[in-house]
Structure formats: structure tokens, C-alpha cells
Symmetry: C2
Subunit: 272 residues, 2 copies
């Protein structure tokens, strides 16, 4: 459907940082008859490029999951300056999806293969009443008898490293290799707001389906005392099972915060 790179046409690669509110999208990935981030991006890119466009992303996000810095790339037969892409695409995109930056890249560039590291944030709130201003942005746990944040921090440390995370993926994720590296899971508390907010910042090389949401659900179980710290190490490794880990925490609490690209990344994205 998109232009083939073996055609005679010269192709111009374009790389974008995009942000979206996931609430009204059926996820990132293209699906027939559904409103998806990829679908909206490809529709807008095609208008400017003048031909069908296939957009390649650094990673997929589920329905309801947000992104502040998703990275996508595509090829265009029409040469347009970066500022033209930025302003032109934003004119054709819906208000819950916006290009934040555009830069030229090599034609065929695939952000997923160049992604070194991603950071996700999972936000939850505590309190008997829901905060309507956070209803699409946080998992509102409701009234919880007690949540031991220090114990959650301890579990978070145990769950980092290069490990077999097979217990932390959706049962319909069938990938063979379930070894991933998580550099850190930081647990932040915000006391200034009412209700109280807790955020997990998860930084790692690559993620499986629902991985951050299952990590969040597991940390909540540890905090509430439903899962003893002594059992956390057994959640990692080839013998662990999806049922051992906690529930998949709801999508609306999750935001893709950042993607770090490797050396071949378009230079204005380089983070020193």
C-alpha cells in the first residue's frame, strides 16, 4: 500500500515525535474500522505526501494508553521541509493527536529497530472519591486500607535487571524471547494533591504486551500486603507463570514518556 523503496521514485524519510491522549483511540496499531493512532497518522501523512503512507512506530500502545513522546517514521515521495510536516500534519490531525517535532531521516528508517530504551509512567490515585480531572489519566484505586510505599520500592528494585519477564506479559503475547532488561522502576509519591498520587517510572530496553500494567498491578498487590515481598523473586524466571503476577492495571494510568534512539537516530533527536 505504501510506496515501495525499490520503485524509481526518490523517497524522503521523515521522523516525528507525536503525543496523544489514548482515551478515544482503539490503541496505536492500525485496525479495520477502528479509530487508531496509526490510522489517523497515515491518513494525515497521505494528504501531504500525495500517496498512501505506511507509518512505522517505536512501539505499540494499547487502547486508552497515552503518549507524550512516541516516535514514528515514514517515507514520502514529496519533499517537504520539517516545519511544513509539523504544521501541515497538525492541521489534518484530530485534537487528541499532535506532532511535537519533525526531522528528516534516512528513507526506510524504523524507530523500533533503533530504540535503545523506553520510559513509561504509570499513575494511580488513592482516596474514597474519584478526581474527575484525572479520570482518563490515572488508575483511581479508591479507598485502600493501607499502601506501603517503601515495600513497593523494595519490590520495584527486585523486579529490575535482565530477567525472564514471562509472568509479566499478556497471555496472548506469544513471543519466544521473554528476557528483557529493566534499568529502573522508580516509585514517586505526591502528597500535595488530594487525592494522593503514586507514580511508577519504568525504564527498560523493550517491553512485552501489558508488561508495565502487570508490573503496576503487582506493585499495588505488594503495597496492599496481598503479595509478600518474599514471593516477588519467584515472579521472575522461566518457571514463573502469568497467574503468579498481579492483575493488569487499567490502561488509562499509563503514558509512554520517552523513547531513546540509538546512534543512527536523526540528529536533532540525539540525547547526549
Amino acid at each position: 500500500m505504501a510506496l515501495e523503496s525499490n520503485s524509481d521514485t526518490t523517497l524522503f524519510g521523515v521522523c516525528l515525535i507525536v503525543a496523544y491522549e489514548g482515551t478515544d483511540f482503539a490503541g496505536y496499531q492500525l485496525q479495520p474500522a477502528q479509530r487508531t493512532v496509526q490510522g489517523e497518522l497515515e491518513r494525515a501523512c497521505a494528504i501531504l505526501a500525495g500517496h498512501p503512507v505506511r507509518v512505522r512506530a517505536a512501539g505499540r500502545t494499547d487502547a486508552g494508553v497515552h503518549a507524550l513522546s512516541q516516535i514514528v517514521a515514514f517515507d514520502s515521495a514529496r519533499e517537504i521541509a520539517s516545519r511544513g510536516w509539523l504544521l501541515g500534519l497538525n492541521r489534518h490531525l484530530p485534537p487528541d493527536l499532535r506532532v511535537q517535532r519533525a526531522v528528516p531521516c534516512t528513507a526506510g528508517y524504523h524507530p523500533r529497530f533503533e530504540s535503545l530504551e523506553k520510559t513509561y509512567r504509570y499513575v494511580l490515585t488513592l482516596g474514597v472519591a474519584q478526581n474527575p480531572l484525572l479520570r482518563h489519566r490515572a488508575y483511581q484505586l479508591g479507598k485502600v486500607e493501607s499502601l506501603d510505599v517503601e515495600r513497593m520500592r523494595e519490590a520495584a528494585r527486585m523486579l529490575t535487571g535482565t530477567c525472564d519477564y514471562r509472568a509479566f506479559r499478556s497471555v496472548d503475547d506469544k513471543r519466544e524471547n521473554t528476557i528483557r532488561t529493566l534499568y529502573s522502576i522508580d516509585v514517586h509519591e505526591r502528597h500535595d494533591g488530594d487525592p494522593k498520587q503514586i507514580a511508577f517510572d519504568v525504564r527498560g530496553t523493550a517491553f512485552m504486551k501489558n508488561m508495565v500494567r502487570i508490573l503496576a498491578g503487582t506493585l499495588v498487590d505488594v503495597g496492599r500486603g496481598r503479595l509478600p515481598l518474599s514471593r516477588v523473586p519467584s515472579l521472575l524466571g522461566p518457571a514463573a507463570d502469568r497467574d503468579d503476577a498481579g492483575q493488569t492495571a487499567p490502561a488509562q494510568g499509563l503514558t509512554l514518556m520517552n523513547v531513546t534512539l540509538g546512534r543512527r537516530c536523526p540528529s536533532p533527536f540525539l540525547i547526549s
Copy 2:
């Protein structure tokens, strides 16, 4: 329409802290055939009380303006425990409006007459691209050549005190007394986000229609250099005119953060 206090029935006063996302409301105040915060509250209260209910608020908010801590009170002929009001009302309210707290108060208690102080926050963002996650929560100024935050702070100091704020009210606000006291206007910068955010926290005794939004528009004019600091003092006083001050900044940037009630307030709300 609501029960009269001179009827034979004993009335029980109830005071609520409510939070709402203003996006899909035609403002706080009841209007025929419009979705309003007051209308939704009165509908839910009537279901639980078993009779029509009139709700009295600490202040009105415009269409699109949010609240984290609006205070309302009403009278009920049915005695219900505070926890029953909290949980029961939240079952009947839409997800963009939630009771945060409920406490008993004197029948006939009116939060507006007992309000000593209110705090509003106005949030704006800078940057060529809009952040879709903030589209209902901030005034996204777009790309601005330069915005001098120190000059805005200086103007904010000039605009506090007990002054005639007649230039800072909507032309359709016809109140005679235009003297108000603003205790402080704090200008905060957030550099950690992209786009950069600026927030004004405005604390004062009472506010006229659009007052915070006109203050915000005026501070933006000062920051952009469109209004010299030397002209700011002339915006206050009986000779000033609505046209002298800046534009009314958009509603979605504004949130009612806090209402401080006086000595007669329901005790659990007392802030020492």
C-alpha cells in the same frame, strides 16, 4: 421549588466539596436545557433526599472552567449520614463531577456568604505544537517569540492589594462594588515538561466575572512585551476601563483550587 425552611419539616444541612472537569458543562450555574454542574448536583441530591433540592455554591465558574474544591451546601428533609451522601451522590453523578467530601452543616448554610478566600490556578503552555493531554486543561499559547516571566512577576505584584478591579471584569458584570482584595498572584514555571508550562495562582477574597481570566490575559501581554510595566498601575482604580486590560484568556486554563470558609464553617472543613 426546594423545600421552604418555614415548613414543618426538620431540615438537615449538608455541605460538600465537589470537583469537576468543566469541559462538557455550560458552567456551574443552572440554565434551562443546558448541562450545568448545579443542574447535575440538584438532580442527584433530589434522588437521595426524596424532594426537589436547591444547591448553594461558594461561587460560579464559567463554561469550561474546572474545580478541584468547589463548596456547595443544600438542605434535605431526609437524614442521611455523611458517608451515605458521599457514596450515594457519586453513584448518581456523571464521571466528570464527583463529591470529594460531605459533612453536616446548619440548614440554610450558604458557602458564598461564608467564603473568606478563594484560590484559582490559571495554566498556560508555550511551544509550537499543542500537547493533546493538556488540551482541556491549559491555554496553549503556541510559539511565542519571548515571554519575560520576571516582568510578569513584577506586574503580578502590582496587581495585588485592595483595589478597584473594574477593568478586570466582563462587560456584562454590572455589580456596583468593583473593589476586591487580591492577596497574591504567584507565577510558577515548570521546565521539566515539554511544552514549558506557566501557572498563575491567584488568591483573593472574592472575584468578579472573568476576573482571573482577564488577569491572565493581561499578564501574558506584559510577558510578551505588548503592555509595558509602566502602564500596569493605570489598570487599577475607578478611571480604568475594561479595554485597558488584556484579553479574557480561554476558560480551559482555569481551575478553582480552594475555598476557605469562615469561622462558622462545618468543622471538618476547618483549615487551621
